[in-house]
Subunit: 366 residues, 2 copies
């Protein structure tokens, strides 16, 4: 709604708008809004639940309290996996989660969060903001009365915690591993018994040998879960989630009921949080990795090159199968592949060369 329209509807005459000469007082009339945000994260989950709370606080500052958002962690108002429906139906105005949780609504949504052997954080951001990524995401969520906004990336995730070594793809056969999503589908093709063990049960299941392996996020979150106490090997890289993106989602009607300046404020605050989130992950993962390696003597292992090569091949099949389940999936997969190829060529002579020849690195060589 344009401010002018609002003023009409609210019955405030134009005389209230006392525009003045430059630098003088300027009075604007605007409605106030009180919203609820529900997330898929446990209370106090570092960086992610923090991100939701920071967003709310920031929007309040930017809008001079015209838009206030009360944030609820998973289960406080709506269960984690219920937030998509709650925001879609307008029970609450907004939410924070990750698009791949909603593969059941449309398999294409997985591309907006994590594609195995897909784009990393920098590539995803470029696809969203300088490619067609966000446009396609908006198109997909529109059918559910939702408006998505990228909330930031975890960066490259870790490959997971294993109690059995992976020396060849044959070692995935018969392995019991907690790994959801597209990555799980890839391993299932290799004979892995894929489980979807909930977060709270993984530690015990690893300890008791109910599962042999699990993936989670990265050093920061993995350290808090204590997996180093019950698993021998910490594998990298996270081929299945190379740049996982979180999302903010808004009920379309609620978003559109905001005056234009508040819509812009919501968008700018989301973009600010997008940068903040990745910065936090990079910095705090760095600190947590140091603690895992130097204090807890965690053994870092890299998946062998031929294992990654084989996983990449199988992943191609999985992506094509998933994509063709919905017309949007085909469109999104084609656009994603095209973009990945374009910036992949550039990445090979820029970031790849940076990491191999320029960066300070190599904790494994300590």
């Amino acid at each position: 709604m344009e401010r002018r329209d609002f003023l009409k509807k609210a019955g405030i005459g134009a005389a209230v708008i006392a525009t003045s000469t430059l630098g003088g007082p300027y009075v604007i009339a605007s409605p106030k809004f009180q919203w609820k945000m529900v997330t898929t994260w446990p209370p106090k989950m570092p960086v992610l639940q923090d991100g939701a709370e920071r967003l709310a606080k920031r929007i309040e500052e930017l809008s001079e309290e015209r838009l206030k958002i009360q944030v609820y962690a998973a289960g406080e108002l709506v269960p984690a996996m219920g937030i998509f429906d709650a925001v879609s139906q307008g029970t609450v105005e907004c939410g924070m989660g990750a698009a791949y949780y909603w593969a059941g609504k449309n398999p294409a949504f997985q591309w907006f969060s994590a594609v195995p052997f897909g784009l990393n954080a920098q590539g995803m951001a470029a696809w969203f903001h300088a490619g067609n990524g966000l446009k396609l995401w908006e198109e997909g969520y529109k059918a559910f009365n939702l408006i998505p906004r990228p909330a930031g990336s975890t960066g490259v995730q870790m490959g997971g915690w294993f109690n059995k070594k992976i020396n060849s793809v044959e070692d995935f056969k018969g392995l019991k591993m907690r790994i959801p999503g597209l990555g799980g589908k890839v391993l299932a093709k290799l004979g892995t018994t894929v489980t979807l063990t909930p977060g709270g049960e993984i530690f015990t299941n690893l300890e008791r040998g109910v599962i042999d392996a699990t993936e989670w996020v990265g050093p920061l979150h993995d350290l808090r879960m204590g997996f180093h106490k019950v698993a021998k090997y910490y594998y990298y890289p996270g081929w299945h989630e190379p740049g996982t993106y979180a999302e903010f989602m808004f009920n379309k009607k609620a978003y559109e009921s905001l005056p234009k300046d508040l819509q812009a404020i919501v968008d700018a605050a989301c973009a600010e949080m997008e940068g903040w989130l990745l910065a936090q992950f990079e910095s705090q993962n760095g600190q947590a990795l140091e603690e895992l390696v130097t204090k807890h003597n965690v053994q870092l292992l890299k998946f062998p090159d031929d294992v990654l090569k084989k996983l990449k091949e199988i992943n191609q099949e999985v992506l094509e199968e998933e994509a063709k389940k919905d017309p949007l999936g085909i469109k999104v997969n084609e656009d994603f592949k095209k973009f990945q190829k374009l910036i992949g060529s550039w990445g090979a002579i820029s970031e790849m060369a940076y990491y191999n020849q320029i960066a300070v690195g190599g904790i494994q060589s300590k």
Copy 2:
């Protein structure tokens, strides 16, 4: 200034503030501002001058025209290298440039823009927003009555255009190359004749053999300069500028005269632009590289590993020499090194492994 204070000073009684029940009309009083922004970029410079203009437009939207900024390219109001002083002295309220242009004010400022063999875009963002980077930058600029905000990164730059092959460090001896800043100091130690040829004269000087080589930015900007017509080899990676950051700068008094919500709007808009800028560089560099290689048959060459190793060693000396020129330099250099080491270890098992084993890439293998 708090809104309450402003109202007092502007002589507006509290009665004007007609707060209402939730969702009803809410009237806020705010002054209007008209600012000028001067940049170091030529008019129409892709992405960079665009970024300044987008920032102005965005702040106008977010503030509902309470803060309007007129943008001037280099030379339109102030010469490129005069913008720091103009904003510092309050002749204009804000500017856009890059902190390494102001090494003459304090050599420490170079660390906030580009450090040879330093952090890439993702690392710089983490240092600014999750480390001490921005705090130190603010400390440094405060002495000049300025407030800095990161404006986004070009990503890894290219090593430059050469008419002589670089097979060993000896090949830098006697080479005439246009390369400013810390990178230039490194090459000078190897016997290179370092020039600071202005942008508009590089093409002709390369064509006539006045210089043998030049660095510029990356595929997008280099293509527009037409260097592929007058240079044989396009070298990577840009060891001297692995994640160059642009800056927004604000006159401190002007910034602080804004009500709190407008200050927050300026900051959020800068952060939004920070993400936008890198996304544009990544995507448009990808497109320009494809054009350079497939249409103009440009020959991409990688600096040999032993050359990069030697440059890295000499760079360490240069950084220490530069840092100790000012107490802030020592502080910034130490903090930067510590942060680079911390996230370097993490980068080695995350992004490095991503680029080597996961990403699609390798235009040179076509």
